[in-house]
């Protein structure tokens, strides 16, 4: 099914347009024909059981995984899945162009441990986009301020907490001015007491109109920050819509079962790190 957000006047034109995404790992069919459209300023949350394909889906969107079939268009650049010729020079360059239009956040943060926080943030802008150092530093400073870590710019990642690392990673991704931010379970690797600070930053970004696609298990956060919640199961999109509809009054039986089981088993946890509201 195609995900179209409910009529919402604040949303802009389509930024991400994935069509017919199929993905096999060997013989294992993980994504079974996914269509996904994301508009400017839209915050889309992907939920579902583990193994439902949500992480694979966002990794296919910036070609960290090569889709078996289908195509991805981001900000006007369309790239067809082509697993047979995935490694030609021209194609690698196309994929790089897609990645320049997207920012990716990982469960494990993946900050560069041999670089200071500031160096992490200005590395790609300077060396990939050719931004002059002064400008890159200024941008990085502004974004670090935004995630609340301006005072940590000269620290090395090893001296930061998990929550701080993920906030730096967010600033680093935004320094490249991507059209869309993609988060792959950004709080799963964090100690419970550190989840809140990351979700707060993300929620703020969502409210400011940052286009984002988030794979998450944090239902409360999804309800607060999402424009659209997408429920996936067994490689398919089962249900999509505004959070109050998908999370509050799901149509599909599978969504209901998932939410019921999920909410009951995670109820305590959800409460524990309610982002500061």
């Amino acid at each position: 099914m195609t995900v179209e957000p409910s009529e919402a006047p604040h949303l802009g034109e389509v930024i991400v347009d994935a069509r017919g995404i199929e993905k096999y790992f060997g013989r294992n069919h993980v994504l079974k024909g996914i269509d996904l459209k994301v508009r400017r300023r839209q915050a889309v949350m992907l939920i579902g059981r583990s193994g439902s394909g949500k992480t694979t889906l966002i990794r296919c969107l910036n070609f960290l995984e090569e889709p078996t079939m289908g195509s991805v268009e981001i900000d006007g650049l369309r790239v067809e899945a082509d697993p047979l010729h995935a490694n030609t020079r021209a194609r690698r360059e196309q994929i790089r162009q897609i990645r320049l239009r997207t920012g990716m956040l990982f469960q494990e943060f993946n900050l560069f441990p041999h670089m200071s926080v500031l160096a992490n943030c200005i590395e790609a802008p300077m060396r990939v986009r050719g931004v002059p150092e002064a400008e890159a530093v200024a941008t990085a400073g502004r974004l670090l301020e935004k995630v609340g870590l301006a005072d940590k710019r000269d620290e090395y990642p090893e001296r930061l907490s998990g929550g701080q690392k993920q906030r730096v990673a967010i600033a680093r991704a935004m320094c490249m001015e991507p059209k869309v931010l993609m988060f792959d379970e950004p709080t799963s690797a964090l100690d419970p007491e550190l989840v809140g600070e990351v979700l707060t930053v993300m929620e703020e970004l969502a409210h400011e109109g940052t286009t984002m696609i988030v794979v998450t298990h944090e239902m409360h956060f999804a309800r607060e920050a999402a424009d659209t919640v997408v429920y996936m199961d067994e490689g398919r999109i089962i249900e999509a819509g505004p959070p109050e509809q998908v999370l509050g009054d799901p149509e599909d039986e599978r969504t209901k079962t998932f939410l019921h089981r999920f909410l009951s088993s995670f109820a305590d946890r959800e409460h524990a790190h309610d982002p500061g509201t």
Binding site: L64, R96, R99, T102, M104, N110, F112, R127, M176
Partner: protein, 268 residues
């Protein structure tokens, strides 16, 4: 001192700690003492049975010791070039280009499959037959670099592979082209992983550099053999050479271990 009758459990802790420290110190003392006693006995035994000519050692020791400079020089230069070769070799081994990969794999296999002494002779004696004439010291350095480069290629390859996949993914997700990812993200981290191994290899190189003595390079072993043969005193001269090698390797191992510990602390 508040309740003298009932000792608190933590009041005994400093005593336990002190006794353990004493035991540790005593153990180390005894262990070091054993070294001294054994070495001393061997030396005294050799001296007492009139097998060691101390005047000869005093006379020739400095000349032999003078070879240590060349031993260190050859080792340092060779480990430098070996590191560069290993870096290139590792990139080749990890390359998706079948030709580069093939060349690198052939290099590693060829060098690891032949004795170092054959490689040394080959460069010094065989290459001139095809018109490439190299002096002895460069020949030795090239052979050692070439040889260690191959072994270190595998270490570097493992080091590069030990950099978490997530680092590459993060860099690629920022739009960094492959080469930049390698140069700026993967290699600096791989280098930190392999630096202790380079130190290890350097200590091994100090010893293997003795093989270039066959090219009449005046390093430690060459000088000790020269003096030993010409004066019929190989016992003394080989003892001197062994002692100097030992001191050199112990010294560098010490620094290498400190470096290793520092690198380990720096990680995460």
């Amino acid at each position: 001192m508040i309740a003298a009758d009932a000792p608190k459990p933590d009041s005994i802790l400093p005593q336990v700690e002190a006794s353990r420290a004493r035991a540790d110190a005593l153990f180390r003392l005894k262990s070091a003492g054993t070294w001294l006693v054994v070495i001393g006995l061997v030396l005294v035994g050799l001296w007492a049975t009139d097998n060691i000519d101390t005047a000869f050692i005093a006379e020739w020791g400095p000349f032999i010791f003078g070879g240590a400079g060349l031993t260190i020089l050859v080792s340092v230069v060779s480990i430098f070039f070996a590191t560069i070769l290993a870096l290139i070799g590792a990139m080749g081994r990890l390359s998706r280009n079948p030709y580069l990969n093939g060349v690198a794999a052939l290099y590693v296999s060829l060098v690891r499959g032949t004795p170092l002494i054959v490689q040394i002779y080959f460069i010094y004696l065989a290459l001139p037959q095809v018109g490439i004439v190299l002096p002895a010291i460069p020949s030795g350095i090239i052979a050692l670099s070439f040889n260690y480069g191959a072994y270190m290629t595998e270490i570097f390859r493992a080091g590069i592979q030990a950099v978490p996949q997530g680092q590459r993914e993060a860099a690629e997700s920022l739009g960094m082209p492959e080469r930049l990812v390698m140069r700026r993200i993967v290699l600096p981290q791989a280098l930190r992983i392999v630096i202790p191994a380079i130190g290890n290899d350097f200590v091994a190189m100090l010893k293997d550099s003795s093989l270039v003595s066959i090219l009449a390079v005046e390093e430690l072993l060459f000088r000790s053999q020269l003096v030993g043969r010409q004066n019929f005193r190989s016992l003394e001269t080989l003892l001197i050479a062994a002692a100097i090698y030992w001191i050199l390797t112990i010294t560098f191992s010490y620094f290498q271990q400190r470096l290793e510990r520092r690198m380990a602390r720096g990680d995460r």
